[in-house]
Amino acid sequence: MKTLMKYVLLTQLCTVAVAGQALKKPDDGSISIEQGLKSWAKIYDVVSHPRCVNCHVGSDNYPMWSGPSYGKTRRHGMNINAGNSRMGVESVMCSTCHTATTSEAAHGAPGVKASWRLAPVAAAWFGKSSDEICQQLRDPNRNGNRSFEDVAAHLNHDVILHWAWQPGGKREPAPYSLDEHVNDIMSWGWAGVPCPSDSDEALTEDITNE
């Protein structure tokens, strides 16, 4: 546990540098599977939050409106469909309303200094369980051929993701913080990217060895 905290602290200090600087990997096994699963649970709290999941939708290409601001879950209003382009080229570009600036007004359009768009279909998370998303995120064939370090680095440089923690107006931000989320991904990764449905045997063995 001390090792984990040491490296969590290290990543806290070096979060911005994750993309460009190789962090010292902790000793093999120093971050337990159990701890990795705890980190994963926090990661799931983030990736299943409306600020993230409303745009991580499936191949029907409908963005969603869900979360405290909307009462009940529904598709994005105005019959908006982002199309196979995932950015609305086929009908209404997301950028028509989602500009470089977030509207602070209730139900105004949020925006970032990047192209507003849906996440790829391979990263469809809306309505998915913790284990389903975990399996997807650790599978290079479905996560954009990324290692867990790459996933963490991706969070650092993609400003549309940063918006989730600074959504503006009265929108509820994603839980924890960007730094903490990156740390959780690193911890999860160094623990061997465990998922909830992994065999209980491995977890038992890991706990026994502690």
Binding site: N79, E90, S91, S95, T99, A100, T101, A105, A106, G108
Partner: protein, 154 residues
């Protein structure tokens, strides 16, 4: 700041975060672009930025600097209407007319990507431009005519 609207460069003294819609209507007196909801939900304030539809109520004046803004006044001329404007007159689309400049600007942008749209595609594209008079059937027909005109078929 300098802002280019309908090919004309203007020097204006406004805050960076003033909505483009305010600049157009209050500073430049281009009142063809209308105010509706102010939160990007109705589409009446639609203009083009570098040829693509944007909601003028959402766009900060500062973000429009260095870009080409086109309003309904600059889409065509009385002597040479844009194909969408021409089709709108042909189908007598407007009832009260308040939403129509936004509708036309949205369609002109949409047809650049979809030169031969289906009914479903038109419905998707125009659902974000509200018409309280319910002129949607005429809008759909006018879009098809405009598309045919732009394809050079009529």
């Amino acid at each position: 700041m300098q802002i280019t609207v309908n090919g004309v460069q203007h020097e204006i003294d406004v805050e960076d975060d003033m909505p483009l819609l305010w600049v157009l209507r209050d500073e430049l007196k281009l009142t063809g672009t209308k105010y509706g909801c102010g939160i990007a939900q109705c589409g009446v304030c639609t203009v083009h930025m570098d040829g693509l539809a944007v909601r003028a109520c959402q766009l900060r004046a500062g973000d429009a600097q260095g870009r080409q803004i086109t309003t309904i006044e600059g889409l065509g001329t009385p002597e040479a209407l844009h194909a969408v404007q021409d089709a709108w007159i042909e189908h007598q689309v407007a009832q009260c007319g308040y939403c129509q400049s936004g509708q036309i600007m949205s369609v002109a942008s949409f047809l650049k990507f979809k030169p031969n749209p289906t009914d479903e595609e038109i419905d998707f594209a125009l659902s974000s431009n509200l018409c309280r008079c319910g002129t949607y059937p005429r809008i759909r027909e006018a879009v098809k005519t405009a598309a045919a005109k732009l394809r050079g078929e009529v």
